[in-house]
């Protein structure tokens, strides 16, 4: 017999199903993001097409999770941890779906860059930034699966790294663009791609906050360290 | 029986009907169904038989009583032509003088007048036998008729006066003419005279109103139940007045106020036991305490009522407690929760709701008291009393005691009257129960 079981066992089944759907969605979002980062480097056409096509699956699964959560709220009237569980699932599902959207956006922009055929891409660090963000996303989903608030907080703090990278990358691309007007189109796309990755990093912290809320009933109290200074960069 | 079961093994390998397909199981159940139906049918037949037996006995009882008693509703009367001597009983103004009338020898007048119809009867003994055809109270009967009429008619008038009880029995066919004269209460010569007046049409059966307007008498034809009914009614009034308030108060105390403990338990057990104490014991108690110690009047409905009240008390207490307990505790809680005192709770809410039950208990107790004979005999209510009682301390008798006295009398006519008195008693009971049902309907409230 499992520990902490509900008297109505179907309630447990519902919560477990919701949980596993969300984990699936997490895996799918991570895969999409991974592929989009890879394809940015390889510019592999088939992969790009696949990313764009698969995004619909994420939308579908998110809708499913919403449906399930709604049903649980209506039928089971969850309270306390169960209530938080369902609310967190709703919120995290939305975040993951948005992550998928960003991955698709990255793929779309990569396609444009690839067609432009401009070889002069100055973003050396963008792959590294993508890698770090992917790890954050991966770790926070692990923290969710194991209900590990400390691990989630760890991810939450790591976002500052991504912010630093993004600021650096932003300045780099801006410099390249001012040096060579030919790369302005590509550069603009790259800036957006970098921004997308930075947003996904923010999303990972959002999920981390949800995990903390799930475990402790409250979001982390101290404010998150932020280091994205791109909004203050005036010129080079 | 050993109800302890231990499940040795719950492995699924058990064969048998439990695991058999539905069709097999149903067939098995259907096979046993016939036996089960037969058993329940048998039980139903036993029940019907029991009820039929009970109803049968009741019918026999009622038929016997009615067939023995209904004839007492009529009384044989004999027509006698009498010339009442007005000057003997009226005053100067021609109005009947009660004192004169009372002192006048009416018996002689009636007998003399009756003998005139039989000029052939001359001897003293014979004349006396002839007179015995009439009631010993025929003179008194005539006097009442004359006084009721208010005036004394001039000349000879035919009056109907009561016959003796023996003639009454003969008239109603309850006397066998064929048995030996010595064993017969009506002798041969009296039979001849009787047949003569019957042939003349001077004998009739009239409604026996005396039975319902008079008290006891030595002569069956003058005896009535009114005295006993009034005696019973008076005793019951006392019973209700004493037993009902005492019992209700006792029940309310026991249910609501008595602190739980040995003393309360002791009282409870004793109240329940009192209900089973033979009634004669209460009679002895009444004799010793009310008559002996307090010196209360013998044979009085007051004492009878007190004794019956003691006897009825436990019945009403038990019924009242049961009906108090039947009032939902939610009502009690509601009143207490509003700040009503326990007494207010009991009086305002619990007792009104328990009233129908209390009423039923009371009626049952009273009905029991009404039929009670033994304790009344103990306190002297068995006396021979010819006047209808007018107060609670007058000597009186009660209906069941009257029945007991009459059924014990030698005269055949008293036996007949005892049966009629039983009918009166039953009627009394039924009307009381009807009242109870009606009152209950009126008071019963739904919640």
């Amino acid at each position: 017999m499992r520990d902490n079981q509900h008297i109505v066992t179907a309630f447990d089944d519902d919560l477990l199903a919701l949980n596993s759907s969300l984990q699936d969605l997490g895996k799918m979002a991570i895969t999409q993001f991974e592929l989009s980062i890879d394809a940015l480097a390889t510019q592999h056409q088939n992969t790009l097409d696949k990313i764009i096509k698969d995004d619909a699956k994420l939308d579908e699964l998110e809708a499913e999770i919403h449906e399930k959560a709604l049903e649980i709220i209506a039928v089971r009237s969850p309270l306390a941890k169960d209530l938080r569980h369902v609310l967190v699932a709703l919120k995290v599902a939305t975040i993951l779906e948005r992550t998928g959207d960003y991955a698709r956006n990255i793929a779309n922009r990569t396609k444009v860059i690839a067609t432009a055929g401009n070889e002069n891409i100055p973003g050396v660090n963008i792959g590294r930034m993508g890698q770090v963000t992917r790890d954050m996303l991966h770790d926070v989903m692990r923290a969710y699966a194991t209900r590990d608030a400390d691990k989630a907080l760890d991810v939450w703090r790591r976002d500052i790294e991504v912010d630093h990278m993004h600021t650096a990358f932003y300045k780099e691309v801006l410099a390249s663009m001012s040096r060579d007007p030919n790369v302005v189109a590509t550069g603009a796309h790259l800036l957006f791609i970098a921004k997308n990755i930075e947003r996904i990093g923010d999303y990972a912290t959002g999920i981390a906050e949800q995990v903390h809320f799930l475990v402790h009933g409250a979001v982390p109290e101290d404010s998150r360290p932020k280091a994205d200074r791109t909004s203050r960069v005036v010129g080079v | 029986m050993n109800d302890h079961h231990e499940i040795v093994s719950s492995s699924a390998g058990v064969a048998g009907l439990y695991n058999a397909p539905t069709s097999v199981r149903m067939a098995h159940i259907a096979a046993g169904l016939k036996k089960r139906r037969a058993a329940s049918k048998r039980l139903r037949i036993y029940g019907i038989a029991a009820i039929c037996t009970a109803i049968g006995f009741l019918c026999i009882l009622l038929t016997t009583i009615i067939s023995n008693g209904y004839t007492a509703l009529q009384q044989t009367e004999i027509a006698v032509t009498i010339d009442v001597p007005a000057d003997e009983i009226v005053d100067a103004n021609g109005v009947i003088d009660v004192d004169k009338s009372r002192n006048y020898n009416w018996d002689g007048l009636v007998k003399r007048s009756f003998r005139k119809a039989f000029p052939e009867v001359t001897g003293m003994l014979e004349q006396r036998s002839l007179g015995e055809l009439l009631s010993a109270n025929a003179g008194y009967d005539l006097r009442l008729q004359i006084e009721a009429a208010g005036t004394v008619p001039t000349g000879a008038v035919t009056y109907w006066v009561k016959s003796s009880d023996d003639v009454d029995m003969l008239m109603k066919g309850r006397m066998d003419r064929s048995i030996d004269e010595k064993k017969r209460r009506i002798k041969d010569n009296q039979l001849v005279w009787f047949d003569k007046i019957v042939a003349e049409g001077s004998v009739r059966l009239a409604f026996n109103s005396t039975f319902f307007t008079a008290a006891d008498s030595r002569e069956p034809e003058s005896a009535g139940v009114l005295g006993a009914i009034v005696g019973s009614a008076m005793a019951l009034v006392i019973t209700v007045m004493l037993a009902l308030p005492l019992a209700v108060m006792a029940a309310v105390y026991l249910e609501y106020f008595a602190p739980p403990g040995r003393l309360t338990d002791f009282i409870e057990v004793n109240v329940n036991n009192l209900a089973a104490v033979p009634s004669i014991v209460f009679g002895l108690l009444g004799l010793a305490v009310f008559l002996g110690f307090f010196g209360m009047p013998r044979s009085a409905p007051l004492v009878g009522g007190m004794v019956l009240a003691l006897m009825t008390l436990p019945t009403i207490i038990i019924a009242t407690r049961a009906s108090i307990r039947a009032v939902p505790t939610s009502i009690r809680d509601a009143a207490l929760g509003l700040g009503a005192s326990p007494m207010q709770t009991a009086l305002d809410h619990v007792l009104p709701l328990a009233a129908p039950g209390i009423l039923t208990g009371t009626i049952i107790g009273i009905a029991q008291a009404l039929g009670e004979t033994a304790p009344l005999i103990m306190i002297g209510m068995v006396a021979f009393i010819v006047d209808v009682p007018t107060s609670f301390t007058d000597p009186a008798t009660a209906l069941p005691v009257q029945i007991f006295i009459w059924s014990d009398s030698a005269e055949r006519a008293f036996y007949e009257r005892a049966s009629l008195a039983i009918m009166a008693l039953l009627l009394f009971l039924i009307s009381m129960n009807m009242t109870a049902v009606l009152l209950r309907r009126k008071f019963e409230k739904k919640w």
Binding site: L79 | S330, D333, L338, W447
Partner: protein
Amino acid sequence: MDTSVEMMSDSKLKAQKVNVFYAEKQALFDVSLGIDEKSVTSFIGPSGCGKSTFLRCFNRMNDVIPSCRVQGQILLDDVDLNSPKIDPVLLRARVGMVFQKPNPFPKTVYENVAYGPRIHGLAANRQEMDFIVEDSLKKAGLWKEVSDRLNDQATGLSGGQQQRLCIARAIAIGPDILLMDEPCSALDPIATSIIEELISDLQSRFTILIVTHSMQQAARVSQKTAYFHLGQLIEYGDTKGIFTRPQNEQTEAYISGKIG
């Protein structure tokens, strides 16, 4: 619990180390808590946890049960209710009670409401009584429905109406405090909602203590919630907190429907 002792200083009602025994069996163990004035406090917990017993301490309805003994202090405005100087009749005129099953007297609607004021002599004449009856029925949200049948039998009303009549009857004697022992357990959801709405209205006038089996109901109507288990007060605090992030695992298990 520390938190409850802290809150107690300015509470309307205070329970201090309350122990209740039924003969030899102890039903409540050292329960201490403070209840705010003009608020709704709900007591939840599994059957037999002592929450109703605790509620009945506040108007000494436990006195009715001969074997029941109450130890400890229950202070109403700093006066101990269990002191022999306090007359339970007087106390119950200050602490009204509404029971689990609607229990109107089998009398008219008017008589039901008028009974309390009558036994306490609160109305000098018929006009005053009429006013009390009307006002109480209005406060209980029943006036519109019964104003034209005040002389009908109360038992002819619907279940929800009967329960509101019982509330009107309780507030007709002008209590400070209203105790409600599972007031909606015999009612359908619509009638329940009406009563819950009524409780929210009454909160501005009365201090309300409610025992309920419905956790949603506790969550909806009360500001503070106390969770009892096996005669012990496990957790007491803001309702919002109890239902979103209970501090105690037993509370958590109970309110999320798990085997505790």
